[in-house]
C-alpha cells in the first residue's frame, strides 16, 4: 500500500489512495496519481533518478488550510503490512499546479543535490572512478555517504579535468555512464554499482507477473550501436548499420587510449543487449535498482528464459502494478 505524508502548513497529513487504518490512519485523499518513474537515461549507466509527475488530491484535505498552500514537504513509502514496515522510496516537495472546486493538483519534485563542481576540477593521474565519487560525496561537496560495495574492482582509472561549472550529479551521471556504472541516492547515501553487479536477485514464476492480456511481457532491443566514440578513440560493433554513440572521454591522456577503448567496448555491449519489460503486482519487496531478475515465460511459442537487471522501475499505483525494464539475455528455456 502506498503511504504518503504531505506537510500542509507545518502539519504532517497521512494520506493514500485508499484508507488504511494502521498504527495511524492514512485517509483516502488521493484521487489520482501519476506513475513514479525511476531509472537511468542511458542503456549503459548513469544516475538512477526519480521522475514523477504529480497527484490529484481531495479538496477535503485543505478545509482548514484554504487555499491549498503553494508547496510542502512530501515523502512516499510502500508497505505490504504495517506502517512500521514501510520503506520510503521518495522524499521531496509537492508544488501546487492548480485547484478547482473538485480537486487540488500538485506536481512532485524529488530531493535535489545542488552542489556545483567548479571549473577545472582535475582528476589524475592515479585517481579511479571510486576516488571521483568519494571526492564528490565529501562533506563540503555533496555531503553524502558513498557505498561502493558493488562498484567494479579494480575501479577504472580516471584522467579528466572539468570544463565549466556543472551540477555534481550531472557530472557523476556522465562519468558513471562512460564507465558503465550506475548510481542512486537514497536516505543520504550514494550507492555506486557496476552495471555487471547484481543488487540482489529474484526469480519470478508465471504467477508473479502480469500478461498477456493486462501487460504482456515485451522483449525488445535498442537501435544497435555501430560505433562508440570518445575524444580521439572509438570502438566498433558487429552491427555496422546501427547508430553512433558519442561520449566524453574521461581517460584523456591514458596510455594509447587503452582505457578509453575498454570503456567504449563495454558501452557497446550494454547498448546492444536484449531488453525486457514486465509488470508485476505490488507483492513482497519492491524491486531494487540493478536487481537481477530471472523469469521463465511459457506463453511464447517456445518457452523463454530472460535474465535481466532492473534499470527502469515504474510504480503505477493507479493500476496496481510495477513495471520493470532492463537489459540482459533472452534464451530458449
Amino acid at each position: 500500500m502506498l503511504l504518503v505524508q504531505q506537510t500542509i502548513n507545518a502539519v504532517v497529513n497521512k494520506i493514500s489512495i485508499e484508507s488504511h487504518n494502521l498504527e495511524a490512519p492514512y485517509y483516502n485523499r488521493i484521487f489520482q496519481m501519476d506513475s513514479l518513474n525511476q531509472g537511468i537515461r542511458k542503456a549503459y549507466g548513469g544516475y538512477f533518478k526519480a521522475d514523477i509527475g504529480g497527484y490529484v488530491l481531495s479538496p477535503e484535505l485543505f478545509t482548514g488550510d484554504w487555499p491549498p498552500p503553494i508547496n510542502g514537504a512530501i515523502s512516499m513509502a510502500y508497505s505490504a503490512i504495517t506502517e512500521a514496515a514501510a520503506v520510503t522510496f521518495l522524499t521531496g516537495t509537492a508544488h501546487r499546479t492548480m485547484f478547482d472546486r473538485e480537486s487540488v493538483k500538485y506536481d512532485i519534485y524529488g530531493d535535489q543535490n545542488d552542489y556545483v563542481v567548479p571549473d577545472a576540477t582535475a582528476y589524475a593521474p592515479n585517481d579511479t572512478l571510486v576516488d571521483v565519487f568519494t571526492d564528490q560525496c565529501g562533506v563540503a561537496k555533496m555531503n553524502l555517504t558513498l557505498d561502493s560495495t558493488l562498484a567494479r574492482n579494480p575501479s577504472p582509472g580516471v584522467t579528466y579535468t572539468t570544463s565549466g561549472e556543472q551540477l555534481a550529479v550531472d557530472f557523476l551521471d556522465g562519468i558513471a555512464a562512460f564507465f558503465t556504472h550506475m548510481f542512486y541516492i537514497f536516505d543520504g547515501t550514494l550507492y555506486l554499482m557496476d552495471m555487471a553487479a547484481n543488487n540482489g536477485t529474484r526469480t519470478l514464476t508465471e504467477n508473479d507477473y502480469f500478461g498477456p492480456v493486462e501487460s504482456p511481457v515485451e522483449y525488445f532491443n535498442n537501435v544497435p550501436c555501430a560505433i562508440a566514440k570518445a575524444g580521439d578513440y572509438s570502438a566498433q560493433s558487429a552491427y555496422y548499420y546501427g547508430d553512433e554513440i558519442s561520449e566524453t572521454d574521461y581517460t584523456t591522456g591514458s596510455a594509447a587510449g587503452v582505457d578509453a577503448a575498454a570503456a567504449l567496448a563495454l558501452i557497446i555491449t550494454y547498448q546492444n543487449k536484449d531488453r525486457c519489460r514486465i509488470a508485476i503486482p505490488f507483492l513482497g519487496d519492491l524491486p531494487a535498482p540493478g536487481e537481477q531478475i530471472t523469469l521463465v515465460d511459457t506463453s511464447q511459442i517456445v518457452s523463454t528464459t530472460m535474465v535481466f537487471n532492473a534499470r527502469i522501475i515504474q510504480y503505477d499505483f493507479d493500476n496496481d502494478q510495477i513495471i520493470i525494464e532492463g537489459e540482459g539475455e533472452v534464451t530458449a528455456t
Binding site: S19, D208, Y209, F210, G211, V217
Partner: protein, 267 residues
C-alpha cells in the same frame, strides 16, 4: 422504510477509551473508514442528545453486541431560574433535604453478531429535555472495538418498498490476469447496492421525502432502514448515498405516487 433525517441530534460524544490516533470524534465524519478505535474489546460511548431524538445508528463496527441505555442525567436537579438558583430544597417536613431526581434508564441489548456487516439501528422513546444515550460495545476477547459512524436523530418513516427490491454488490477489487493464466486478485472495498420502488401518498410522504429529505441532503449519505415493518434483519440497514442521480417519482395515481430509489453503500 425509515431514513434517519435529521441526524444531527448528538451534541457531545465521548468514549471511555480511545486510541489517540483514532479519536471518538471520527464517528461524526461521514467517512465510514474514518473510525474510532477503543483500546479493548469493551468500550462505552456516551452521546448527549437534544430532546426529540428517537433513534441512534452505528455503522462499520466490529462489535458483536451493543447495549443501548437511554436516560436523562442522573443526580442533583439544579435549578436554572434565578428564583431557585442552587439545589432544589424541599419545603415540607416530610421531604426536607436535597431533592434527588432519579431518572429511569431504559436498557436494550442488541445482538448484531448474526450479520457480519457491523451496524446497528436502535429506536427508543425520547425525552422532553436533553438526554444521554450510552452505547456499550462488546466483542470477542482480543478484538479492539472500532466504529465508523454514530448518528442520532428522528427517522422519517415511510411504507416499506414494493416487492422486487434488487440487492447487489459493487466491487472495487483489482483482478488482473497473470502470465500463467491465473489471476492476481487484490480485494478492496465491496459496496452494497439496493434498488427499490416506494408507493407513498403524494400530499404528505411523497413530497416530504422528495423535498424535505432528498432535496435538502442531495446525494447523501444517510442512514437507511430499507425494510422495517416486515423484517427487522440487520441486512436492511445501510449507510448509503443515492447512486446514479437523485430519486425521481411519477404520479400514476390520483392520490399515491411512486418513487424509484437507487442506493449505494458509502464506504
Amino acid at each position: 422504510m425509515k431514513v434517519l433525517y435529521p441526524n444531527n441530534y448528538i451534541t457531545v460524544i465521548e468514549a471511555d477509551e480511545e486510541n489517540a490516533s483514532y479519536p471518538i470524534t471520527n464517528v461524526e465524519d461521514n467517512n465510514t473508514q474514518k473510525v474510532w478505535k477503543a483500546t479493548s474489546n469493551d468500550a462505552v460511548v456516551s452521546c448527549i442528545c437534544t430532546a426529540g431524538a428517537t433513534a441512534i445508528v452505528v455503522f462499520n463496527t466490529n462489535a458483536t453486541a451493543i447495549t443501548v441505555v437511554t436516560r436523562q442525567s442522573l443526580g442533583l436537579d439544579w435549578q436554572p431560574a434565578l428564583a431557585t438558583f442552587g439545589i432544589d430544597w424541599q419545603a415540607s417536613l416530610a421531604t426536607f433535604g436535597i431533592d434527588w431526581v432519579e431518572q429511569t434508564a431504559v436498557t436494550t441489548t442488541y445482538d448484531i453478531s448474526a450479520s457480519s456487516i457491523g451496524q446497528l439501528w436502535a429506536d427508543f422513546t425520547t425525552y422532553a429535555e436533553g438526554f444521554v444515550v450510552s452505547l456499550t460495545f462488546t466483542a470477542a476477547a482480543g478484538t479492539i472495538i472500532e466504529a465508523g459512524i454514530i448518528q442520532a436523530g428522528i427517522p422519517k418513516v415511510y411504507t416499506d418498498p414494493l416487492y422486487g427490491i434488487q440487492e447487489g454488490l459493487k466491487d472495487y477489487s483489482i483482478l488482473k490476469e497473470l502470465n500463467s493464466g491465473g489471476f492476481y486478485v487484490r480485494k478492496r472495498s465491496v459496496a452494497r447496492t439496493l434498488t427499490f420502488r416506494l408507493l407513498e401518498d403524494r400530499d404528505e410522504d411523497f413530497y416530504e421525502f422528495l423535498y424535505d429529505v432528498v432535496q435538502v441532503v442531495g446525494p447523501g449519505p444517510l442512514a437507511w432502514r430499507v425494510v422495517h415493518k416486515k423484517s427487522t434483519d440487520w441486512e436492511w440497514i445501510i449507510f448509503a448515498l443515492f447512486d446514479g442521480g437523485l430519486p425521481a417519482g411519477s404520479h400514476d395515481d390520483r392520490i399515491f405516487s411512486y418513487i424509484d430509489v437507487n442506493l449505494i453503500e458509502s464506504i
